[in-house]
């Protein structure tokens, strides 16, 4: 589904990603771990299409289509979703209106009519219950004054609404207490199927107890220096990242 080949990217002259190769197939969960500053968030931002980063070399394809030239919204229409490490507050736009607009824009791009209001409400109810969200958050301005945990839950709620083909969870576990972490992980697990894939980006192994990866990749200095199964996450938890740096 997703193929990243020899990806080099950075900000202005500063290289951050220095040759990433990664292939994610439908139905798989990949975890990307690594120390701070290794390029984890840059990788997710580049896949989602953040123009702050410049891609100097390499390619990203989704279902064999080159997506590097596509705008972030066009990537979203093709099924890319990124859960932000720091979700943005948007005063004046309610969560409900925001997600309605997002869903209908996606439908429009795919040649579909707007989702009828009744179906939209039903969908919102269903998905907000899945994430055990307090309904009052839906009518409040998006993320405004939400706690860290509420913001993350709202991200996964949006993911549940949009049903992406490829979901990238960027440090979704940070700022979550254990109960919220379980709810969020449970939400992600319920959304899994054979057609979609998830990339979990995390510093700690904690989240991976609940969202169990098929593959774990370790990122260091803009490169994947080691790949393995879920046991690699435990190894990192025990040994820390220092031994990884020596591999590079």
């Amino acid at each position: 589904m997703l193929k990243i080949k020899n990806l080099h990217a950075g900000i202005e002259d500063k290289g951050i990603l220095k040759g990433i190769n990664l292939e994610v197939k439908a139905g798989e969960i990949h975890a990307i771990m690594g120390p701070n500053g290794s390029g984890k968030s840059t990788l997710s931002a580049v896949v989602a299409g953040n123009e702050t980063y410049e891609v100097s070399e390499g390619s990203i394809t989704l279902d064999n289509e080159d997506i590097l030239e596509l705008s972030p919204d066009e990537r979203a229409h093709r099924g890319v979703f990124m859960s932000f490490q720091y979700p943005i507050e948007i005063p004046g736009v309610s969560t409900t209106n925001f997600i309605k607009t997002a869903i209908n824009e996606k439908r429009k791009a795919n040649g579909l009519e707007d989702l009828p209001a009744k179906d939209m409400l039903k969908l919102i109810r269903e998905k907000s219950e899945l994430l055990e969200m307090d309904r009052k958050f839906l009518s409040r301005s998006l993320n405004e004054g939400f706690s860290g945990g509420e913001k993350k839950r709202n991200e996964i709620f949006q993911m549940a609404m949009l049903e992406p083909k490829l979901a990238i969870l960027d440090e979704t576990d940070s700022g979550l207490d254990i109960d919220a972490l379980k709810i969020v992980a449970n939400g992600v697990n319920k959304l899994r199927n054979k057609e979609n894939a998830v990339i979990v980006i995390t510093h700690y192994q904690r989240l991976l107890d609940y969202i169990v990866p098929d593959f774990v990749h370790v990122l260091h200095d803009g490169k994947i220096v080691k790949s393995g199964g879920k046991e690699l996450a435990h190894e990192l938890e025990e040994k820390g990242y220092d031994w990884i740096k020596e591999l590079a």
Binding site: A48, G49, N50, E51, T52, S71, P72, D73, R75, A76, H77, V80, F81, M82, F84, P87, I88, I90, P91, G92, V93, N97, F98, I99, K100, T101, A102, I103, N104, E105, K106, A109, D114, S141, Q158, L162
Partner: protein, 440 residues
Amino acid sequence: MSLHEKLVSSFMVLENQGKLDLDSSIHDIRTEAISSFEKQGFPTKKDEEWKYTSLKPILKYDYSVFPKVETAIEFKDVKKYFLHEIESYKLVFIDGVYSSFLSSTTHDGYDICLMSAAYKNPKYKLVLDNYYNKIANKKDSITNLNTAFSMEGAYIHIPKNIVLPKPIQIVNFYTGSEKEILLQPRNLVVVGENSHVQIIERHQSLSSNVVLTNAVTEIFASKRAIVHYYKIQNDDENASLIDSTYVQQKDNSIVSVNTYSFGGKLTRNNLEFYQDGEYIESHLNGISILNNKQHVDNHTLVKHQTPNCESFEAYKGIYDDASTGVFNGKVIVDQEAQKTNAFQQNNNILIGDKATINSKPQLEIFADDVKCSHGCTIGQLDESALFYMQSRGIPAKEAKALLLYAFTNEVVEKIKIPELKSRITKLIANKLGVKLGFEM
């Protein structure tokens, strides 16, 4: 001959033609006003209050001061300029002349009628003697110009204990019957104790001929009166407007003046509130959304003269292309006005590379036990918010519009008439060039 000279001599012509009632007290007011105007002339950029707004580009025309022909218009052609979804009283003027055909007035328990009638009819003399030109700023030459020439406008007198069953719409149309026209409507709104009034005002040019409107409105709110006044400024790009609105409030009254500036070439709003009683609330709200070379200048004054009163001011501006905006918000708290709460906020977003805004809060506080705050922001669209929205599938153009929409929302939410709120929302969407899939 300059416009200034032309206007002064036009006044004499008017007197000689017998078009003015020379023996009336109104005429004394007119003569005093024209002689002030003659001395003062039009303001220039050297005047502190006009530093960022030059009248030069609109004073160069050879304005016709008295329309020569009367033009009729069909309701169906102008229906869209009315808030036609609801019942209302209507005062409609075409090229400065009252249109009985399009209007719907009343004298049933209260007067919603014409200034021209009020000037002449002795029945209204007492009200005029008490209120007319009482709070209009005599130092303002343009207001004086209006006082000298105004022949027509809305006369609204609501005695005490009346809650108006429907709002009043004041609509001024210009048909373009003259190539360049100067219009000077004058409104007087007197609201008695405990009475409630809502007014929607609009100036609308129906052609691309040049028009300059110099409008003056005086609003008097008695004890416990509630007045909500909405100004829709969405005119043709060859239309300019100088709108001066003066408000005086008595104890426990609530008055809001809400100004929505989306159109026109040059718009100057002078809005002055004078509090004369205790426990008064004054609300000043505004939204300006400009593009091309449009210019809007909001000059406001709130004069807290009495204790225990509040004022709330919120102006939002969005400036695209090479448009320019001015916000000058003066708040004066007199020594007697203890326990004043005065809040002022002016937020601006610059989208166009050549757009500018000059924002100037001015607080003059002479009392020591008061709560006053002001905040002024000038910013650009938040790039990280744009990326966030795009990453959810909302295209850049819609994402921008949604952010701008949200930016104005706080002020839109203050509109008390639901149909008007949805109309303003639509005007904003049009101005931003998008169709949003929901109503905010």
